[in-house]
């Protein structure tokens, strides 16, 4: 009785162990893929154009824009830029009827949108480059 069980179980064990390993590898692989194709699933996001290792403080590679988003030096912003030339609450991006708008929050050193100083609320197009302090952010909007 035990012998039969033992013989059956040895195959079962090998199968379980290999399916387990295979699933883990697959999960790890999917994780890697989601990091690489993250831009494919998102509608609107900001991409940091400066190479991350040249920035003397911590920043992410991309920031997803849900509806509203603020950029500034303070920790309560969604995009935190710890640069002394950036104001606490520097600028704001907001969604209105499918379009994204950018507004400078009266920052001391201003915001540059595509090489010209941002004066008023402006509409953002995909590919626009926003310069805050030393950081260049590209706005990307799909669909």
């Amino acid at each position: 009785m035990f012998d039969i069980l033992s013989v059956i179980f040895k195959y079962v064990f090998v199968i379980i162990i290999y399916v387990f390993i295979f699933t883990i590898i697959r999960m790890i692989y999917l994780d890697i893929k989601t990091i690489k194709t993250i831009s494919g699933d998102l509608k609107a996001y900001l991409k940091v154009l400066n190479p991350l290792d040249t920035i003397p403080y911590k920043m992410e590679d991309t920031y997803v824009i849900e509806d509203n988003l603020t950029i500034g030096r303070g920790s309560d912003n969604l995009v935190v830029i710890r640069d002394p030339y950036v104001s606490k609450h520097h600028l704001k991006i907001l969604l209105d009827e499918g379009n994204y708008f950018i507004e400078d929050l009266k920052s001391s050193n201003g915001t540059i949108l595509n090489n010209s100083k941002l004066e008023d609320v402006s509409i953002l197009k995909s590919g626009d480059i926003i310069k805050v302090g030393d950081i260049d952010l590209m706005f990307i909007h799909k669909g």
Partner: protein
């Protein structure tokens, strides 16, 4: 698909544990008592819930604990099959080990001055060595055990982790320390003093691990090729001196090159191990149907051979793959970690697991000379299990993003 894949491994693990434990309970039916049964079920539930719990509380890596759960489940049924006494003890050690895992995870997460305690690590290491020499008992040729109040443990298991933390705090603060021109040589001296002491204890396997961890971290973090060349030449010199001076080193090499003339005494272990693996073939003889008791230390150093005999070479390869995945995740954790100190610790721990598995599995299958070591998470042994879980908890802690205010990005 996709949403549910995360649940598959944990369910497979659960299934594996239930099936293997029931098989073992049937095998050990005659001397099975309620406590053993309850502890077994307890472990299965604990593993299941700690995996889910970890998913909730830790934002870091979710694979390492799963991988390790599979490893110790394989080890546990093998040990249970060889001896039910040891199996029960191993069950208890695993319960303690999982507790230690969570404890060390929370400690690493919540304490921030790990990199400033270089002298503590140094003191711990030398203290443990001193303890070993004063209180140590010679067991199987090596003085590496001490027993306090009936509980015996191997201090070198803890020293390994102290070494990793020592090297991490040195390389993390290297700018401060390198004001002293000789700092790199001093560190090398300290590491070699550990290795020398281990040599005196005749604990060759652990000495090899210390050397491996140091060489690996030095290769990554030390600038200046002359230190690496010095390290490698010292190792070569020490190795050859050891071979000439110590008989036990010579025997290891001789039985590795050709164990067959010594099959009755010195080469007994290695030849039995090879017979066992050959006996098992691809799928093994089946649990309880082989003769792992023919191999000396079949539950400890040679557990890999026992697993290969009864559960097949495929399971053996599976074990190696689990270690490869564990080390891969360890390096991945190091790559994702921004804080240099935790990055070095993660690399050190991954190196330690990888090297230890390589040295003992390689020894058991006669790829490299045999040195006595435990297979992490799989072999029987309280200090081995507890210290491996300690290291895993540290790795888990290091897998989370340590964001400090105004931390400069490297």
């Amino acid at each position: 698909m996709g949403t549910n894949i995360g649940k598959i491994p944990i369910r497979l693990l659960f299934l594996f544990e239930i099936l293997s434990l029931s098989l073992i309970f049937i095998y050990r039916w005659d001397n099975l008592d309620f406590n053993t049964f309850a502890t077994g079920i307890g472990l299965v539930l604990l593993v299941y819930f700690s995996n889910s719990f970890l998913r909730k509380i830790s934002s870091g890596d979710h694979y390492i604990f799963l991988i390790v759960s599979m490893m110790f489940s394989i080890g546990l049924i093998m040990i249970f099959r060889i001896s039910s006494d040891l199996g029960i003890k191993q069950l208890l050690w695993l319960l303690i080990g999982i507790g230690v895992f969570f404890a060390s995870y929370f400690l690493v997460k919540n304490i921030e001055f790990w990199d400033k305690m270089i002298l503590v690590y140094l003191g711990t290491a030398y203290g443990l060595f001193a303890m070993t020499f004063i209180l140590g008992a010679r067991l199987r040729g090596a003085i590496n055990w001490i027993s306090i109040g009936g509980v015996s443990f191997q201090p070198a298991e803890v020293t390994k982790i102290a070494l990793i933390f020592f090297l991490a705090s040195y390389y993390y603060n290297i700018e401060k320390y390198s004001k002293n021109k000789y700092s790199e040589w001093i560190v090398m001296g300290i590491v070699y003093s550990y290795i020398g002491l281990l040599f005196l204890q005749r604990d060759l396997g652990t000495a090899l691990i210390f050397f491996g961890i140091y060489t690996g971290l030095q290769y990554i973090y030390c600038n200046g090729r002359r230190y690496e060349i010095a390290n490698l030449s010292l190792a070569l010199l020490g190795g050859s001196l050891g071979y000439i001076l110590f008989d036990h080193v010579k025997i290891r090499v001789l039985t590795w090159l050709n164990p067959w003339p010594y099959i009755n005494d010195k080469g007994y272990q290695i030849t039995q191990s090879l017979f066992a693996i050959a006996e098992g073939s691809y799928f093994g003889t089946g649990l309880g149907r082989g003769n792992p008791s023919f191999i000396p230390l079949s539950y400890n150093d040679f557990i890999f051979s026992s697993i290969s005999e009864e559960m097949g070479v495929f399971t053996g390869i599976g074990v190696i793959m689990l270690f490869v995945l564990l080390v891969y995740r360890g390096f991945k954790i190091a790559l994702l970690q921004n804080h240099k100190f935790y990055r070095i610790v993660a690399i050190g721990i991954s190196l330690m697991f990888g090297l230890q598995a390589f040295i003992i599995i390689g020894g058991a299958i006669k790829v490299i000379p045999l040195t006595g070591l435990t297979l992490p998470f799989i072999s029987y042994g309280g200090s081995s299990i507890v210290s491996s879980f300690l290291a895993l908890g540290i790795l888990q802690g290091a897998s989370e993003k340590v964001v400090k205010e105004d931390e400069t990005y490297e």
